[in-house]
């Protein structure tokens, strides 16, 4: 019989059954602690637990690698991040944590994807690689599918594996197989251009001189490409469809690259004249035979740097060379323009040097001013004194006025003899033989030279006088009186009253001091006669001191006998 207790027990069992059924039905699909990530969702379900979980051993690395075969090979080879020290000893689940839902990304970057230490993969990012977005390299186009053969877990759009480390695996072969695939032998990861590690001196053709800074493309021109670039890389080059030529370039001769601006006139061996230091600066000093040109170099011209004449730097440019002044500066102006040869430089100068001039004395004698006398011994520059030329330089002055001596010489007489020079110039008195040989005819002067005056030097009378302008010969006014030149040795004894000067000529004459015309009996008031005629003058004209000077007494002299004879004894015979 069904009792109330039986109903109660049935009710409880029914409750339990319903609760278990309604609560477990939705969960039959899984017993896991959470949904797997999208990558592993195929492993969802109770039957798949042991696909990852090891019985009594939690999640084992070996279970993971059972599927992820590509990692097995890489770890065995010590390649990639999973073989690095950072993760080599850890379990997979310590990084790739599961049962966190479909949205959970199994690849977690603790410092962000940008903070990942790429060096731990064995491939350190350097240079321009550092700033790149990860997926700019780790993208399906560049990932090699052959790297994942046998591993179905890898999806090229998600994986970071499968990239070849060779540069050309990602980058286009810009050189189109002309060079090796060891790009880093020449380029750096910082920038493609310039190829910082490339040394052209390791090539067959070494760069020297001006060749070094030349842009590569000057010699290695763009040529059309026969192949296509990798998609997504170097779009510009791809569009151009061209590449620089590095193979098959002729470089045996300069003309392989350079145009022969001489038109073959100077031969094919450019190195005879030029170096790589510069086409225009190679220089004749290196052996260029200038004699093969229309203007052979001679003398000093052989030592001149090319660019002194070829100032434009263009050695092949034709230069005017008919006249010296085509290159050289005209220092003399038009001074010699009146010459028959119009003043050609070579009339005086040679290519052996500007100085000395080959203009000789004979040439000068044929000039408008032949040299005579002392002028023959005068150095040129005493007359042709340096002046400042039109270009500011010091040049000899050939524009001389030589009509008068004063054009060159200074008038030492300071105009005292203009009376004469106006008549005949300096030559009225002087010649070019010597300054001191005066040809002046003193008889034409107001003071005639006579007697001793003709024998003495001019300067005895025309003495040098120092003035503010220096020494000069004193020409005038000279006093014509004797006292103008001579000293009055008589101390004024003969100065007459009413006269300003002593009339020496009354006693003396030009024949000499002692050439007296004085006659005692005629010219004095005391007549000598008798014994007086034989008495020496000094017996009467005895020396006396006048004004402190000892001189003979002539006047006044007493004419009485006692004045002279006072010492005659009284018993004498007079």
């Amino acid at each position: 019989m069904i009792t109330r207790h039986h109903i109660s027990c049935f009710t409880r069992v029914l409750y339990c059954g319903l609760i278990v059924i309604f609560t477990t039905l939705p969960a039959l699909a899984q017993i896991s602690p959470g949904k797997l990530s999208a990558a592993h969702q195929a492993l969802e379900g109770i039957a798949n637990c042991t696909q990852c979980h090891q019985i009594r051993a939690e999640v084992s690395k070996e279970k993971c690698l059972t599927c992820h075969q590509v990692l097995v090979a890489r770890i065995a080879q010590g390649r990639g991040y999973h073989a690095s020290k950072e993760v080599a000893d850890g379990s997979c689940s310590s990084c790739h944590r599961e049962h966190n839902g479909r949205e959970y990304d199994l690849i977690y970057w603790p410092q962000g994807i940008k903070g990942f230490n790429h060096a731990s993969t064995g491939y350190a990012l350097e240079g321009a690689h550092q700033g790149k977005e990860c997926r700019s390299c780790h993208k399906p186009d560049l990932i090699s599918a052959s790297a994942f053969v046998g591993d179905k877990t890898v999806r090229s759009e998600k994986t970071f594996l499968g990239l070849n480390r060779d540069c050309l695996a990602c980058h286009t072969d810009e050189h189109q197989e002309q060079l090796t695939d060891r790009c880093l032998d020449c380029h750096t990861e910082t920038a493609w251009s310039p190829a910082a590690k490339y040394n052209h001196n390791n090539a067959k053709y070494k760069l020297t001189g001006k060749h070094s800074p030349v842009e590569c493309l000057k010699c290695h021109p763009w040529i059309k490409s026969n192949t296509k670039s990798k998609a997504g890389l170097l779009e510009k080059k791809q569009r151009l469809g061209s590449f620089a030529k590095y193979q098959g370039l002729a470089f045996a001769g300069c003309a392989d690259c350079h145009k022969d601006v001489h038109g073959g006139r100077l031969g094919a061996d450019c190195g005879k004249c030029h170096t790589t230091e510069g086409f225009k600066t190679g220089g004749s000093a290196l052996g260029f035979d200038h004699s093969r040109t229309a203007y052979p170099l001679q003398g000093k011209h052989l030592q001149v740097e090319c660019k002194r004449c070829h100032v434009s730097g263009d050695m092949t440019r034709s230069l005017a060379h008919g006249r010296c002044c085509d290159c050289h500066r005209e220092d003399h102006g038009s001074v010699f323009a009146a010459r028959p040869d119009s003043g050609k430089c070579e009339a005086c100068h040679t290519v052996e040097g500007y100085s000395p001039s080959r203009y000789t004395l004979e040439d000068h004698q044929r000039s408008r001013y032949p040299l005579t006398g002392s002028h023959l011994a005068v150095p040129c520059n005493r007359c042709h004194v340096p002046i400042q030329g039109s270009h500011g330089q010091q040049i000899a002055n050939f524009d001389l006025q030589y009509r008068d001596c004063a054009d060159c010489h200074k008038d030492v007489h300071q105009g005292q003899v203009n009376l004469w020079t106006e008549r005949g110039g300096c030559a009225f008195c002087h010649t070019t033989e010597t300054w001191h040989r005066i040809t002046f005819d003193h008889s034409k002067a107001q003071f005639q030279l006579e007697g001793k005056h003709r024998e003495i030097l001019c300067l005895k009378c025309h003495y040098i006088q120092s003035s503010g302008e220096g020494k000069q010969v004193w020409m005038k006014p000279l006093a014509r009186e004797c006292s103008g030149c001579h000293k009055d040795v008589h101390q004024g004894q003969f100065l007459q009253k009413g006269e300003s000067a002593i009339l020496c000529e009354k006693c003396h004459q030009a024949g000499g001091w002692t050439d007296l015309k004085f006659t005692h009996n005629r010219d004095s008031r005391f007549v000598l006669d008798g014994a007086h005629e034989k008495v020496p003058c000094r017996s009467c004209h005895k020396p006396v001191a006048i004004q402190g000077q000892l001189t003979n007494r002539y006047r006044p002299l007493d004419s009485r006998c006692a004045d002279c004879h006072q010492q005659i004894p009284k018993a004498g015979n007079k």
Partner: protein, 289 residues
């Protein structure tokens, strides 16, 4: 305060401290999204399979298993002499609170899979336990926890009546009001639905009525505060006794049906929990062992 209350207080204090520590310590982790948690430094410790998380799960599970001792004490005859059933219930309740807290922290608030059924069953058991505890209190019992017999009910009723009659001198009008408050309406005079509603609402109503009486006694009597409190406690006890006696039959019926919910959920919880423990143990998650 009895030793029993002190021990219980210490146990709940322990529960509160552990909970507070774990919430504060692991708050940053627990409040993160499920996607972000694996990247937290505390993940390895606080995840369900982590050192701390796994330990919490094991301890919580053990506490839940210990709850079954209450059933054993209740139904196994040889254990009937092992202390008062009320103390066993107090410990049972503490285990029913602490265990789910630890298990919740063990889950790290990540609920999914079949084991989540165990978790939600556990929560159903725990919450129904709170209601069961309420029903349990609505049935008059001895101090040892056993239910009062009808004779004991009558004796208790008489004792409380005498206590009220021994009240000090109080104005007749006020005294009659006190005695009226101690009574409870006869449930047979109202419908079942109205009666249950009145029963549930009586606890709140009584609280305000006692407060009003306390104010009146202060104003209209010369009783001191101690006497007033003792008087009101007696009034309240008699009122509750009368109410529980009036609804004793209803309480018995509700408690019967409560068992039909509380126990099946507990069974489901334990069954799936055992599956969960077996599976993770087989898969090698043996914590520190």
């Amino acid at each position: 305060m009895t030793i029993k209350r002190i021990i219980l207080a210490l146990l709940y204090l322990l529960t509160g401290a552990v909970t507070l520590f774990l919430v504060v310590y692991g708050g940053g982790y627990y409040f993160k999204s499920l996607v972000d948690r694996p990247h937290d430094n505390l993940h390895d410790a606080l995840k369900p399979g982590g050192l701390w998380g796994h330990g919490l799960g094991i301890i919580g599970t053990l506490l839940m298993i210990l709850m079954l001792l209450y059933l054993a004490r209740k139904y196994l005859r040889f254990m009937h002499r092992w202390g008062d059933i009320g103390k066993w219930l107090d410990v049972h309740i503490w285990l029913g609170i602490t265990g789910p807290i630890l298990v919740t922290l063990h889950t790290a608030f990540k609920f999914g899979g079949i084991v989540s059924i165990s978790y939600w069953s556990m929560m159903a058991v725990a919450l129904s336990g709170v209601f069961g505890r309420y029903l349990y209190l609505q049935i008059p019992r001895r101090l040892s926890g056993e239910e009062l017999t009808p004779e004991e009910l009558q004796e208790r009723d008489r004792t409380l009546s005498e206590q009220i009659l021994q009240l000090p001198n109080i104005a007749p009008a006020l005294l009659s009001r006190l005695q009226a408050l101690a009574q409870y309406p006869d449930p047979t005079t109202v419908s079942r639905a109205t009666g249950i509603h009145a029963w549930l609402a009586d606890s709140w109503r009584l609280r305000f009525q006692l407060k009003t009486l306390r104010r009146l006694l202060r104003q209209e009597s010369e009783l001191n505060e101690y006497v007033i409190t003792t008087l009101l406690n007696t009034i309240k006890e008699r009122r509750l006794f009368n109410r529980r006696k009036s609804f004793l039959h209803v309480a018995h019926r509700l408690l019967h049906h409560w068992h039909l919910i509380h126990r099946p959920f507990a069974v489901v919880m334990f069954v799936i929990m055992i599956i969960h423990v077996v599976v993770i143990t087989v898969l090698g998650y043996t914590w520190i062992f």
